[in-house]
Every structure is written in C-alpha cells, then in structure tokens.
Amino acid sequence: MVENKKALYDAMVAYKVPGIQAAVEDARKAGMSPTEIIDALGDGMAEVGVLFERGKLFLPHVLSAAAGMKSAMEVLGPEMLKAGTKTENKVSVVMGTVEGDVHDIGKSICSTMLQCGGFDVHDLGRDVPKQDFINEVKGGCKMCGMSALMTTTMVIEKDVIQMLKDAKLRDSTIVMIGGAPATQAWCDKIGADIYGETASETTRKAKEINTR
C-alpha cells in the first residue's frame, strides 16, 4: 500500500496522463480505497505546485498533471458514489481577469490549482466585466477571485468589492486578489480577504479560510 501511495505521488509529479492512469489502476488492484488514492494524488499535485513555483515545472506540465487528476476522478468518482462514500460539497469560486486586462495565464494556473484543491471553479477568462463577477456570486459562488497584471486595471478590483457591498453580498463573499502589481498592502487597502502571491499560496489560503 505504501508503495502504491508513492507510485501515485510520483506519477503525479511526473505529470504524464498515461502514467497517472496506470498508477491509479495498480492502486485499485492493490485494494486502495478511492479516497486514499485521491489523497495520494492530491499530495502529488501539491508538489507539482511547489515545483511550478520554483521554475522547475511549467504550465503545460501543471495542466497535464491536472488532466491526469481529472481522468482519475472519472474512474474514482462513480466508485465513491457506488460505495456510498460521502463527497464534500465543493465551495464555488468565480475567477477572472478584470475588465480591460487580457493577461490570464497566472489566473488560469490559479484556477487549475483551486480545481485540484477541491473547489468548484467558474473561470470567466479575461477582460471580465465587473457585473459578471457579481452575477456569479448571486448565482451561488461563495468566493470571488480577481486577477490584474497592470496598475491601471488593478483598481477594478476595488470597484467590484464596492459593487458586492452595494448588492449586500460582501459579508457573505470571500474576495481573493492576485497578479503582478498586487501586494498584501493593496489587498488590505481595498478590503479584500485573501492576497495570493502564487497559485499554491492562494489555494492554501482559500482552503484555510473555508475551514475556519
């Protein structure tokens, strides 16, 4: 079992979909439960995030690992349902690069990491109109993540927070911000809840705030 756990972890870090699928199949044959398999894959995915931050792995590798995770979930999800394993209700997050800004690679990485971290991510892409964030929150998203790469567009984050206040949704929404010009000071200044310097830091903070 320990060997299978390590094999799952290693396969995820190696980020190749066929390798991940093979490791999952071996683990199932060895009698590992779906939950144990997912946990081991999740540990591997966390390491992928660390290697990504250190410039050792890159976006295609992260996405390939995420595709492997998705493929594993297609097999393990129905098994969990069959076995009656309780699945947690996923927290919904709306993610987007604010209007006027088309830089969305960092935001996309963050969305992928949040997905792998167990969140239900509604990624609206780039140049997202302010109202679209509000609509998603009204539609049930508990968290609102905004990214901006430019000092000229980061101010939109402040506008969206004000719009949440106006719609009386601010208190029930966790607001996350990120992007090159953002800092913790900017986060505090505009009254956001989470500043994430990296995708994995954002995911970690999002998990922490939801377990409080």
Binding site: R54, G55, L59, P60, L63
Partner: protein
C-alpha cells in the same frame, strides 16, 4: 540605531535599519541561490551592498574610472511614449531623440525603434526603417543599433495565424499548444532574419533583441535561431540579446535549443546558449518582487547577475529599469533606488554595461 530610508519593491518609502537591510540582502541572495542552484553572496559582498543601500545620499554613483557602458533601449519612446508605462509624452522625431540620447543623456550606444517595438510590425515598414537608419547614421557618432522585441505573442491568435497556447491549454489541448508554439517560433526566426539583415544593409551597427522570451521558451528558441541567421548573414553585426525575465517561462515546456530544454533556465544558463547562437552581448534580467524590500530584491538580483557574469565569455549588460535589476516596479522608478541598484550591479555583480 540610525534609521535608513529605503524602498519596497512597489516603490513605497519605508524606514528600516542596517541590520534589517543585511538580513534582507541575505534572504534575497539565498532565494536566488536556491532557485538557480548557485552560490549565495559572501558576507563581504553583503556588507558592500549594505553600504550602498544605507548611503545617506539620495543619489549614489560609481567611483571615477569605474564607469561602464550605458545603453538605452526602446528608441525615441522613452521621450514620446505617453501610455503611462514608458515615456514623458514629449513629441519629437527619431533623429532628435537619437541625438539627445547621445549628446545630452550620455548614452554610449543607442537604437532606432518602431512605435510597436516588435519584429513583426516592422516587416511592412522595413523600407522606411532602413531609410531612417541611414539618415540617423549620417548624424550620430555613437554606435547606433536597431532594437525590437521578438515578441512571439504577436504570432498567436488573435494577432497572428497560430493557435494561442493560453487558449489551447485552457481546453487541455496541450500537444496542440506545443505544436503551435513550435510553428510560431520558426515563423518568428524567419521574420527576424528578414528584418535584421535588411536593417544591417542600411548601415546599422547591430541589432538589439530586447525582452527575449516574453512569450516563453519557444520565443527564446525562435530568437536564438534568428540570431544564428543574422550572424551567418552579417558576421560583423554587433548583436545584443536581452531577456524578458530571470527564468525562461515554459509555455511549451519541452522545446530545446542546442540539445537543452530551454524552459526553466536562469541567467547563468541562458548566457551560454546566447553565446552559442552568436550574440556579442547578453542582457540578463532579474525580476522585482513588489512585496519585498529593495535590499531583498537587490541581494537576489546581484546574486543571479554575478553568477551570470562569472560564466559568461561575452560582455554582460544588465537590464536596469522599472521592475528589474532590483529596481522597484512603479511607473517612475525612484532615482535613489535606480542609482543604488546600478552601482551595486557595477561594483558587486561586476557587469560590463547597464
């Protein structure tokens, strides 16, 4: 303990102490050493950097006789640009800008640049650029280059013919994204040859490839291949190759140059491939972290650039400006930070030019 006025990476003014400056220099250097798998700065060098940062004067400089080559990029745009990220909104012609840089701003070399500052948009106006190059060469004394960013992003949809990896990867079409990046890279190398050889035939002293790798690893490979073509066609061209960031982004992830995966290379590794491609001067870049102090950023930048200079066989002209080389990322880089970082790069990192 006396207070030291310094900056954060976003340009904000903060008060600190010398011991905190030394702590941050060590932490920044350790971060570079960890990321790049290189040696951190010795305590002597950290003390030297601390002296520079803690200098009571607003503006600092190197000792007479230790000056290095000063090169400006982006052509006339640092005067004429008015979009908030470069320039002062002062309208002038390209000849006037070139002569002002040479005769008033102390530039040792300068360059001609198109308003878009990218290889691709120059193609349809190459004849105009050649004519302007010739006209300015008749007036200027300093070596005068042509400058442009390879900017492979312009080859992807919606600006170009190839599928955009950012869109394709979002749909998990990873192999297709890699294929499109490779095709865009080859296309850009052909365009570099077209633009650079023609501008050389108009009398340019050389070519400055600015912000290489802005679209990731395939952008770097395309530029190296373009440099190879230019070197072959114009053996005497002076080729400057400056980078976009400290670590080559792996948008492709596996593309190679000279048998080496390019993604994830740091300055001391990048320079070896630039030499191989045929560059005469390499411009390393180290990015600024806006949430960290000037000391942290400078300690980190100097560690990377010093290592790059150690292994390089060609001169190193470090990129110094908004958000690079330890300088804060803000619209008008503060002079106290700019001069401190520049002095540190010359005296501690040992660069040949700025």
């Amino acid at each position: 303990m006396s207070e030291i006025y310094t900056r954060m990476g976003d340009g904000s003014r903060v008060v600190t102490t010398r011991s905190k400056v030394i702590d941050d220099l060590n932490l920044g250097s350790a971060d570079a050493a960890d990321m790049g798998v290189i040696k951190a700065l010795s305590s002597d060098l950290i003390e030297q950097l601390a002296d520079i940062i803690c200098d009571k004067n607003r503006v600092v400089g190197v000792e007479p006789g230790h000056e290095v080559v000063l090169t400006y990029d982006i052509g006339q745009l640092d005067f004429t640009g008015d979009n908030g990220n470069s320039g002062n909104g002062i309208d002038m012609g390209r000849l006037e800008a070139a002569l002002l840089h040479e005769r008033a701003m102390g530039a040792d070399t300068f360059e001609l640049a198109h308003a878009d500052y990218s290889i691709k948009p120059v193609k349809p106006v190459i004849s105009n650029e050649m004519q302007t190059m010739e006209e300015i060469q008749n007036e200027i004394v300093a070596p005068f280059f042509y400058g442009a960013m390879p900017n492979m992003g312009l080859y992807y949809k919606p600006d170009g013919p190839y599928g955009n990896p950012a869109d394709l990867m979002r749909e998990f079409k990873i192999e297709e994204a890699m294929d499109q990046a490779e095709k865009a890279s080859e296309h850009m190398a052909r365009d570099i040859e077209f633009v650079s050889t023609r501008i050389m035939s108009a009398g340019s002293d050389g070519f400055n490839f600015d912000t290489t790798g802005s679209a990731g690893d395939a952008d770097v490979v395309g530029t190296f291949k373009g440099v190879e073509k230019l070197r072959k066609a114009c053996p005497d061209a002076d080729i400057l190759l400056g980078m976009a960031g400290e670590c080559v982004m792996g948008i492709h992830g596996s593309i190679e140059y000279d048998g080496k995966v390019v993604a994830g290379l740091f300055p001391h590794q990048q320079v070896k491939l630039a030499e191989k491609a045929g560059a005469d001067v390499f411009g390393p870049v180290v990015n600024t972290n806006t949430g960290k102090s000037l000391a942290w950023n400078l300690g980190r930048a100097v560690t990377f650039v010093r290592e790059c200079g150690k292994v390089a066989k060609i001169p190193i002209h470090v990129n110094m400006g908004m958000g690079v080389g330890g300088i804060p990322m803000c619209e008008t880089a503060p002079i106290d930070a700019v001069t401190r970082c520049s002095k540190a790069m010359v005296e501690v990192a040992g660069v040949d030019g700025v």
